[in-house]
Assembly symmetry: C2
């Protein structure tokens, strides 16, 4: 297969700007390797609410379902965050999309770049050589359990629920990844308090029988939040439930020095979506200062997923080349910097 | 009042060792200031399970209820953590005690010590001068909602629930504290996903009307987990729900450089409990290497609570004197160190 249907959802804030660089580099990859990428655009998030009243219009969902992969920018808008009573919210679009596409595993690789190591708030000796892969469950848990607010009584509820079959697939995925790496898997949970965490622990232990070559250990989420900063090198592959994964993986982004560099893949059995970890960063919208690298590296993860490993590798090398030659946005070098689109073009040209 | 009933619950792991130093310094305080502290000991945690089958025996609860304040060590034992099927767990004792005593606010002050600033995994310029006070709701949320596991169907549930009256008291407390400090309060929540978080946001906004001199802002918990490391100095007072508080406050402990230094107070309308942030640290049990400072500083918070501010101040000065003169345990200086009890005695003598 050499021709691919890519659904493109620019979303909110800086999303459109960074996704634009992803399609740019994909076109360059297409020329270099003789692939065709056809882009179909869809509305999502606050943009979609403003235009259609719906954070995930049916048409967008359809485009995604028919695609080989989805490229996504960012979601979120301050006008909704400050209004706890809003009934329709941008994030609902993303959550619904994850659910509808069955994207059960959110994968976030974390590495440090030699030339950027001084950017991290952490000391060099703490982070140098850290290399972590986080697997976050993405379509269940407290995000998707029943939730309601009873204005009259003054109560609000969010139900966290897991079925063992919602846990097993991502745990298998994480074990398989650990096998390819340093053979250590850490489950992060709160099994001393939560029933759902105890179920995670149980399912992990059962599945561990099938991976005797991988060392499995358990860490409470409060301790993990501390250990990630004290000694990130102790981790290889991490697997965790939805909410803990949200917190832990954003926290872990400080290891790399800049959230503007970090990609993610959300994988299901039939579909996959690729997005930068950073959010919509509304303050930077339209200024041409957003770092496109996280989106471009997400695109590299997409190429891997599509089986185009060579192209993915080339793209990653181009990014590294750009970073090493300080062809970067202002977040990485305030003294001499380039715009979002200049950095994207530099990477595309190098391909 | 010059005579006080103190309930002492040494608990598990290094708990007994560090609490022993707290009673030691309290006796010194008593002599210096002419107070009498009467100690009544109670079993709790794994120790209590082994001896009575109950992690919080009625007698212990009674002792606590009759006390002016409770000193607590630590809880937890690896033999339970590795058994997801255990029906009785040490942590249940602590959770029940918090609930029964109505300890709705867990308060954790975070500061950096000039002489220890190099101990932190974070760079000096990031943490120097950071000074944060965290208010964690402690008797509701997902910790105390209904939870159950249905072995047959394979489902587990944990219900997170809040009533507005469970939110308001701690929010008031946090606003009042902010007023005494730099006048900034940050609510950490996940209001873009959770109904309970939206209720928190709403209640905070309402209460903010009564504190027009305090600036209130909101931060999503994933972003907060990142911001705490990127720029801890942006925070003054933080208020948050139970589970987020558990994660965020352990994470924030890295700012100070050692979890062995950090105290906490759990306050209710009628009772109060004081404990170090560090856990039971079973690997160190009985070795005399545990750092007693967190427990001793918790004791200082207790003196404040009892209205003995002068004694509290003296105790804090003694601790600072010990640290500045490198009279510390091995975690703070591997080259020249003292035992748990030597450090405690040094502090007591200085009083
Ligand atoms: C936008 C928000 C709903 C989302 C989440 O919490 O999952 C984001 O933080 C993420 O991690 O992708
Ligand atoms: C021991 C455990 C139940 C407890 C909690 O999660 O509250 C501890 O981590 C704490 O923070 O005091």
């Amino acid at each position: 297969k050499t021709s691919f249907n890519i659904a493109v959802l620019p979303g909110d804030g800086i999303g459109p700007e960074v996704v634009n660089e992803s399609t740019k580099v994909l076109n360059a990859v297409g020329e270099a390797f003789n692939y065709t990428f056809e882009f179909r655009y869809g509305l999502m998030g606050a943009e979609a609410i403003f235009k259609t009243g719906n954070p995930l219009p049916d048409e967008t969902l359809q485009i995604c379902k028919e695609s080989d992969a989805v490229l996504f920018g960012a979601i979120g808008d301050p006008s909704f965050d400050h209004n706890p009573d809003a009934k329709v919210r941008p994030e609902q679009g993303l959550l619904k999309l994850r659910k509808e596409l069955g994207l059960f595993a959110n994968i976030r690789p974390l590495k440090t770049y030699a030339s950027l190591i001084d950017k991290s708030p952490l000391k060099k000796e703490i982070i140098e050589g850290a290399d972590i892969q986080i697997f976050r469950e993405l379509v269940s848990g407290i995000y998707f359990g029943e939730k309601f607010t009873d204005e009259e009584s003054g109560y609000a509820y969010d139900i966290c629920t897991y079925h063992r079959d919602e846990i097993a697939p991502i745990v298998h995925m994480a074990f398989q990844e650990a096998r390819k790496r340093r053979k250590k898997l850490t489950l992060i949970d709160k099994a001393n308090v939560l029933d759902t965490s105890r179920l995670w622990r149980k399912v992990c232990k059962e599945i561990a029988q099938e991976y005797p070559d991988v060392e499995l250990d358990f860490m409470f989420v409060d301790n993990a939040a501390m250990q990630l900063i004290l000694n990130p090198k102790q981790f290889d592959v991490i697997v965790t439930e939805n909410m803990f994964g949200d917190i832990i993986s954003d926290e872990a982004s400080v290891i790399g020095g800049s959230i503007g560099l970090l990609p993610s893949a959300s994988i299901g059995n039939e579909n996959a979506l690729f997005e930068p970890i950073h959010g919509s960063y509304p303050q930077a919208k339209g200024k041409g200062i957003a770092n496109p690298v996280a989106s471009v590296l997400s695109t590299a993860m997409m190429l891997d997923y599509l089986g185009l490993e060579q192209a993915a590798e080339r793209l990653r090398q181009s990014v590294e080349y750009a970073i090493e030659n300080k062809y970067v946005t202002v977040d990485l070098n305030a003294d001499l910097y380039y715009s979002t689109s200049e950095v994207g073009s530099f990477i595309a040209d190098y391909i």
